[in-house]
């Protein structure tokens, strides 16, 4: 089921994408609604699943994670039957932040975070390349990243 939004809903979402900690009263002030009316709209958008949650924006480098690498993984031809095993094993590695099954050049795209390149190499060699189903791997080191507000 698709949720229909009006212009006020869109304005509320744009504000919350920028700062999810805004109080309903502050959001309401900016979109020209009362606090209760704004609260009801946010509640409705959350219940409908449009607002799926919150994301913390942490400075990874300041936390000691200086390197993010995207890995395109192609599985070895023989092991295509054991997709579930591969997915379970790869998702259990804490440095692997995301695992996406994709259609195209690769079978999976992984987002891996590490303290530095040496640490990344350790994760790659000891945790990822040791999985029996991994065939070839392509690495791209993340230089910059931005999330955009999207079509609202």
């Amino acid at each position: 089921m698709t949720v229909a939004l009006d212009a006020t809903d869109r304005a509320i979402l744009r504000l919350l994408i920028r700062d999810a900690t805004l109080k309903a009263s502050e959001v309401g002030r900016q979109v020209g609604l009362s606090q209760p009316a704004t609260w009801r709209r946010i509640q409705r958008l959350t219940e409908a699943g449009v607002i799926a949650g919150r994301r913390l924006d942490l400075d990874a480098a300041k936390l000691g994670f200086g390197v993010t690498v995207f890995l395109g993984v192609k599985l070895a031809a023989k092991s295509r039957v054991s997709l579930v095993d591969f997915e379970r094993a790869i998702a259990a590695i804490p440095e692997v932040q995301t695992v996406e099954h994709i259609l195209g050049l690769y079978d999976y795209r992984l987002r891996v975070t590490a303290r530095d390149l040496a640490d990344f190499e350790r994760v790659l060699r000891r945790r990822i390349m040791t999985l029996p189903s991994v065939g070839s791997v392509e690495a791209n080191v993340l230089l910059s990243e931005e999330q955009r507000p999207g079509p609202l």
Partner: protein, 151 residues
């Protein structure tokens, strides 16, 4: 530098960013006043930069989610800047990343259906400046998605 208390707080906070600070303090086994003080410090030092609402585009009828891996024409010194500035103007582009590696940039593009995607691709993406090559990857399933850092 971060100590064990900061790490415990951030770990719990990452796991459930929507929770009230009281619950967070309890889960991290830290007194409430300490939790307030530490989070304020993490914000002031720029470790915690902010909190953003996550939109489920699927719930809004955007069923197509495509990753475009882009190689730029690096003979032009302004290739990156021009490309990124123009890509920011395409509202259906919800993520922009740049890389060191085989590809230069990746755009995540959403659309309501394949015909809308095709239109965005032709009219808005292919017209972006300095593109040398594009590869499209269609996302089938997300098996793990923890934006979380292994703090």
């Amino acid at each position: 530098m971060l100590d064990d208390i900061d790490r415990r707080l951030l770990r719990q906070f990452q796991a459930d960013p929507g929770q009230p600070i009281g619950a967070l303090a309890e889960a991290a086994r830290v007194p409430l006043a300490t939790a307030y003080k530490r989070l304020e410090k993490l914000q002031n030092t720029g470790v915690l930069r902010g909190q953003h609402a996550v939109i489920d585009w699927h719930a809004l009828g955007y069923g197509v989610d495509v990753s475009l891996r882009i190689t730029l024409d690096k003979t032009n010194p302004r290739a990156f800047d021009d490309f990124l500035a123009a890509a920011r103007d395409v509202s259906e582009v919800i993520e922009i990343q740049t890389f060191l590696g085989r590809v230069d940039a990746r755009l995540r593009v959403i659309a309501r259906d394949l015909s809308e995607y095709q239109q965005i691709y032709r009219d808005r993406i292919l017209t972006l400046p300095h593109i040398a090559d594009i590869e499209a990857l269609l996302q089938v399933a997300t098996i793990k998605n923890s934006a979380s850092l292994p703090i």
